[in-house]
């Protein structure tokens, strides 16, 4: 018996149609069905932040949303925001500040950091650290990540003045 459900959504601007099992989470759909492996899967219960993506503009955990729930939605992954250059300044700063080692947390960190800076352009290091507390990094000890995000926040602020 076919238990799959048809879904249609836009992923990084491209219309996608697939049939999926209801129990398939959005993160696994992105990784296995669409081969967008920049969205990482760590804890599978919403704690580590590695699977963070945007759905209809909102930051979400792709391990806590079913692929069927994304039917009709606009999904953006790290591949999408890298391609458009939306986070290129953050990526550059992460490289310069040594804000990544293994890179497993980096896609989620970049998407979360971008959202923080959009909501609070002048966020100080303490606010940045608090907002990134839902994204685990087991390599860097976080200081370099906070430095990189803070530096970009300052640079973006200067550009818009």
């Amino acid at each position: 018996m076919d238990t799959t459900v048809a879904i249609e959504l836009a992923v990084n601007g491209t219309p996608v149609g697939r049939r999926v099992e209801p129990r398939l989470c959005l993160a696994d759909f992105l990784r296995y069905d669409l081969e967008l492996t920049g969205t990482h899967v760590g804890c599978e219960h919403g704690v580590c932040g590695a699977c963070t993506v945007r759905v209809d503009g909102a930051l979400v955990r792709a391990c806590l949303m079913l692929a069927v729930q994304a039917d009709g939605c606009r999904v953006e992954t790290i591949e999408g925001v890298s391609g458009t250059g939306e986070v290129s300044d953050l990526q550059q700063a992460f490289a310069e500040a040594n804000a990544l080692q293994c890179g497993f947390c980096t896609p989620g960190m970049l998407l979360t950091a971008h959202e923080i800076l959009q909501r609070e352009p002048g966020a100080d290091p303490a606010r940045i650290r608090l907002a990134l507390s839902g994204n685990y990094c087991r390599c860097t000890g976080y200081q370099a990540i906070v430095d990189a995000v803070h530096r970009v926040g300052g640079a973006r602020g200067r550009e818009t003045r």
């Binding site: 129990r23 989470c25 599978e44 919403g46 932040g49 955990r61 806590l64 069927v68 608090l130 507390s133």
Partner: protein
Amino acid sequence: MKPAPFVYHRPASLPDALALLERYGAEGRVLAGGQSLVPALNMRLATPGALIDINRIPGLDEIRLGAEGLVLGALARLDAVERSPLVAAHAPLIAQALPHVAHLAVRTRSTVGGGIAHADPAAELPACLVALGGTVRALSRRGSREIGAAEFFRGVCTTALGPGEVLTAVVVPRLAPGWRSRFDELARRHGDYALVALAAHARVADGTLAEARLVLAGVGATPVRAARAEAALAGRRMDAAALDAAARALAEELDPPSDVHASAALRRHLAGVLLRRAVRGLLEA
């Protein structure tokens, strides 16, 4: 891990959702924000036969000030509630509590109805609703009813909702003159479940807390109202001795659990720390 298989339904209306709930009985689970249910599915702690996804039912996400008070629809997302000027003005306790709930990428999906119906004993919203004397609106095919927050929470993840019943909204009474709120919590890391949280709501008059409602999370199976500490505060001049007495009363009336996160003794101590902070904050505010 991955969830066990289930049937997925996405009803377009409340009557459709209620019909599905009746059809599946104990095998059916309502899916709202999914930020507690989906982890439980992933870990196979929950293996429902059917998920009834209410996310596309229109009108359930309202945040509205009505004659009865502030109405928060079941599907109001915590991120929207946190940023709502109406909530800041009429339920500051909730506005203060929400930044403590998990993290932004969870709060964008997490819903008021889900947080209340899930009834995690360490969660922030249930404690706030009890402290504010709010009510829960529930709908079934038999009709709708309102349940007082104090009667709603029955045990660990157990509520007064019956079979075939779905939570549609919570209502918080309008903020009465002189009442102030203070929410604070202590957790290992920001966004973790509270070791102890305190929702304090009080009427301030003449430099004292004339009436106080103190409700704690993380110290019992449900939100716990601290009646003896409330009595120790009421109408007293809050000097060091009075504050010590109130903290002692609180420690005596609490019977918190010991678990891997904290011992009962630590939780009792932390509750006192939060009480002192709350009293100072309420009187300064």
